[in-house]
């Protein structure tokens, strides 16, 4: 199988990730619940992972690195920490349902700072118009549908100017694009552990500036057990219950692997694959490619539509040819509405550090074969 769906989850992981998960299952118990060897080994692994992530994302204190079960989990914490019913929030036109639904769920007044695809100046202007008076803003770093890299640094600067706390959804950028948490000055940044960071499913990370963030869950933390209230310090405040130690152990190895390879090198590789794939298809008038005019505006995700072929049908036909991609709305109807593809959806190809030029050429052959 040629796996081109790493925007959903990275299937291929470095071998060290698998070994770390197995070792954790064999040797580690629960951190913060005892002083014996297996508990302390687990605690050391969890701290090592916090430190590695703090280093990767330029976070001042490792306590600000919160382990979650997913980016969605982290985004829910961030949104509920900053917003309540009726509060006005500004979002980009490319947000995932992991942002849209929690905002809708709490009854926030959602204002979409809409701007055309691959036009970062327009995105900045849309935020500039919408931000004054807003309670918070949310912006995805990279569109999960189109790979569009939004101008998060510029939007963060605007948020600082207007004193509006910003939540960054780094789900698609983490692992290939840099993110300097201190420099951005955002309130929160959420990301999954199982996509670009190459950890196992069930892992996520929330970078948290707010010491007093609102817990989503309440429970035991192994600290201040006599108190009925959750601890008022991080990370304990936001991490009740037993940690996913095998997941975190795997995530640690994924991050270490990334740090060795370096994110810019991995992004370069993914862009080369995207270029090669798009290059094979761009001359065929039956293929509509959503390709950035400037390659610096697109990460390793490419959407397309095939003339006369429904996107779900196209994905099924590709699966029959051993090419794994995702079709439809990609849990991001807002992004499709913004780009004008809500009715048809798209077929999404997303590339990982483990894909090869041979694979993307074979995938392009499969697309052309479907078109006949």
């Amino acid at each position: 199988m040629i796996y081109l769906d790493c925007a959903a989850t990275s299937l291929q992981k470095p071998a060290c990730v698998r070994y770390a998960v197995c070792r954790a299952m064999e040797q580690m118990s629960s951190p913060g619940r005892g002083g014996y060897e297996s508990a302390m080994l687990a605690a050391d692994t969890v701290l090592d992972c916090r430190l590695a992530l703090a280093d990767l994302f330029c976070v001042r204190r490792p306590e600000q690195v919160i382990f979650t079960s997913s980016a969605t989990h982290g985004l829910n914490i961030a949104i509920r920490s900053l917003l309540g019913p009726g509060d006005r929030v500004v979002v980009s036109g490319y947000e995932h349902n992991a942002v849209w639904r929690p905002l809708h769920g709490i009854g926030a007044d959602i204002q979409v700072a809409s701007s055309p695809l691959f036009e970062p100046d327009a995105a900045v202007e849309a935020f500039r118009r919408a931000l004054p008076g807003a309670k918070a803003a949310v912006c995805t770093q990279v569109s999960n549908v189109f790979g569009y890299i939004l101008p998060v640094e510029r939007i963060a600067a605007l948020c600082r100017e207007y004193n509006v706390p910003l939540i960054v959804d780094a789900s698609q950028g983490a692992g290939s694009l840099g993110l300097d948490f201190e420099k951005l000055g955002c309130a929160f940044a959420a990301m999954p552990g199982h996509k670009g960071l190459l950890g196992p499913q069930g892992t996520g990370v929330l970078l948290c500036r707010e010491e007093n963030a609102a817990p989503l869950f309440y429970g035991g933390t192994g600290s201040e057990s006599r108190q009925a209230d959750m601890p008022d310090f991080l990370p304990d405040r936001l991490e009740p219950g037993t940690h996913n130690v095998p997941g975190i152990a795997g995530l640690l190895e994924g991050v270490r692997w990334l740090q060795k390879k370096t994110c810019p090198a991995l992004l370069y590789h993914e862009r080369q694959l995207l270029d090669a794939f798009a290059g094979r298809l761009r001359t065929d008038g039956r293929v509509r490619l959503f390709r950035a005019p400037d390659c610096r505006l697109q990460a390793g995700v490419l959407s397309l539509q095939l003339e006369g072929v429904d996107c779900e049908q196209a994905a099924s036909l590709l699966a029959e040819r051993s090419v794994a991609v995702r079709a439809g709305l990609h849990c991001a109807p807002l992004a499709h509405r913004t780009a004008g593809t809500l009715e048809q959806g798209t077929v999404r190809f997303s590339f990982s550090p483990f894909n090869t030029l041979g694979e993307v050429n074979a995938a392009a052959d499969a697309v052309l074969d479907i078109l006949g």
Partner: protein, 82 residues
Amino acid sequence: MHYLLTFRSLTYAQRASRVLERAGVTGTVSRVPKAAATRGCAYCVIVAARHRERGLAVLKSAGLEPERVLLRHADGSLEAGQ
């Protein structure tokens, strides 16, 4: 005799232990004895009595000052250590 440097969370105690280790001071992370854990479960770093001053100075410079410093006598009894 040893000193117990107590912290509100395991994460802080671990970080303190590593900072001490880098400064050449051996500090072992351990749970705070029940009698001293006034707010419930907590963790501490145990250092030899001779390392008290240097250890506290290292932690202060790293922004990791302990909540409390307890002196543990040979018979296991505890008393305020500063």
